[in-house]
Amino acid sequence: MESSHGDKGAVFERTRGRFDRIGDPALKAITFSAAALAVTILGLIAYELVRGSRLAFDRFGLGFLTSQTWDAIHNQFGALSLIFGTAVTAILAIAIATPLAIAIALFLTELAPKPVRALLGALVEMLAAIPSVILGLWGILVLGPFVQNQIEPFLSSTLGFLPFFRGQHSGTGILTAILILTIMVVPIVASVTRELFTTVPSELREGALALGATRWEMVRGVLLPAARPGILAAVALGFGRAVGEAMAVLMVSGSTIGIHLSLFSHTDTLAARIAGQYNGSGTNLQTSSLVYLATILLVISLAVNIGAQLLIRPIDRRPRGRRIALDRALETQGMSAD
């Protein structure tokens, strides 16, 4: 066979068609652009939001964050009342949801008989799939009256001496919003936590039980501590959801500006206020203020998101098998563990 001196590589090149040859770099270029686009969009979102809030920022500055006013007539806007509403509803919702979610996850992984597990797990995930506007509809027309006629009176009569349970019973407001948010957040935290529990190796469980621990002692002393970082990440995820929820909260919160102590009082959140003003705001300033609100919301959700990522990163260093399983856990919510 004739050997080619010099350009030996050419022997191999000649056998591939031109089309084939450009395929590899082309694929790389195309997919890279796709990825670059995805990253760019994120940057673009931040840029556009900042640009859109320029007007309001120039007018109100950071004082926007400390002003309670939202007055379309006098063109005075401020976010404090909304920040308060967001904080109260989201924090209380996650406070109620987390123990419930962990309990559900524990039930699914430790106590439920095998055939029930898959079914129950699917039902819990279905709760997460219900569109928020439908939950909002149910919230106004079904939950609201129930809260108004049963729960609020009950709370008034038993705990009415506390400032948190005073005021008119209307069925809308902070309490109802918290309830709806809890319903939305529980399945999220529960599914992630449940997958997380399955990643804890059975040797750890067996080790504890073999020492003569009861099942609860094993859970409390070994299982929960081992899963703690992941649980925190799951909670962060749920919190992010609660903070960002617009529709359901809009429908049940009463859309009222003002900071009050009572859980029965009407309120509004950042997301809900933005959504509520879709009908067209009067002035450019008002529109810009809405975008300003959106920017604040973006900052909060970025902070929560990145916080969750940081919590996950230490877990990343654990052995491969565990990481894949954690990946699976977060993926139920469309995230990766990277």
Binding site: D20, L27, K28, I45, A129, L137, A246, L298, S336
Partner: protein, 294 residues
């Protein structure tokens, strides 16, 4: 020598510990029961109120003329939702798959990390914020349109599709890739003729889940494709179009029973669609994972 009497029964301190353990178990069971109960209550509420307002007219007629909301149906809301979500899928599917291919097959680890992080962050952004983004980007200058709505939904869908695709791509055994490459088949051909076909099932189920999610979104659409939407006969993506979620939202606000009935009926229809497709997709995904040995 006689052995001291002892027993292995529960007693004293152990009895208390066992009691605590059992109580905790009961609480866990209660929590699970509560979750299922809430699901049942919501679904039954929507179903009972919604199903009774359904009729053939509901699906085939457009909204009634004038102020009288009774009679007529949501045909064009269904059409609108279909157009908006459909176009969003057309945008999001190729983008999501391409990003996933890049991240899982072609990217250096650092860049892959950045891309994944970006997707995760985007996934966590409240949908209302994404709506406002598209609003300032397009609507301020050009007015509302279904396309704008599709863009927002696409942004929401891409991370979901990319993640699902990446997972199935990783599930394809590397032995298959290696076999193809060892035969002298180029990288890109391998990707498209060996890897992607294997992963197709997963991509489809991931997309279906994303569609179910997008179909249920309202917040982004409010600013992008709601006002002045011609509820009578329109499917032009350049115009703002009605959507089912928007119908639910607006009718929920009205206090007359006919409007509320319409809201429930629409909610019931949407809920059925979303729940059935989500469940089916998840089942398919689980079976698919098992098949690929995940």
């Amino acid at each position: 020598m006689p052995e001291p009497v002892f027993s292995l029964r529960t007693s004293g301190r152990l009895r208390r510990r066992q009691l605590v353990s059992r109580m905790m178990g009961a609480l866990a069971f209660g929590a699970a029961l509560l979750a299922v109960a809430v699901l049942a209550i919501v679904v039954v509420s929507v179903a009972s109120r919604g199903a009774s307002a359904l009729s053939l007219d509901f699906f085939t007629k457009s909204q009634a003329q004038g102020f009288n909301p009774s009679g007529g149906g949501i045909l064009f809301a269904i059409v609108g939702s279909g157009v908006i979500v459909g176009i969003a899928t057309l945008m999001a599917l190729p983008l999501g798959v391409l990003v996933a291919i890049y991240v899982s097959e072609l990217a250096p680890p650092r860049l892959a990390r950045v891309a994944r992080l970006a997707l995760d962050i985007t996934n966590g952004i409240p949908t209302i914020v994404i709506g406002i983004f598209v609003f300032t980007l397009i609507v301020v200058a050009h007015g509302q349109s279904a396309l704008a709505g599709s863009l927002a939904l696409a942004i929401i869908m891409v991370p979901l599709i990319a993640r699902a695709t990446e997972e199935v791509l990783l599930l394809v055994p590397s032995a298959q890739r290696e076999a193809s490459l060892a035969l002298g088949v180029s990288r890109w051909r391998t990707t498209f003729s060996v890897v992607v076909p294997s992963a197709m099932g997963g991509v489809l189920t991931g997309t279906t889940l994303a569609i179910a999610r997008a179909a249920g979104e309202t917040a982004p659409l409010l600013f992008l494709t709601s006002l002045g939407a011609n509820s009578y006969a329109d499917a032009n993506p350049l115009h703002p179009l009605q959507s089912m979620t928007y119908v639910i939202f607006t009718y929920s606000d009205l206090s007359d029973p006919a409007s509320q009935a319409k809201a429930w009926a629409t909610a019931f229809t949407l809920m059925c669609f979303v729940l059935v497709t989500s469940l089916a997709a998840k089942l398919a995904m689980a079976r698919y994972r098992k098949k690929l040995g995940g």
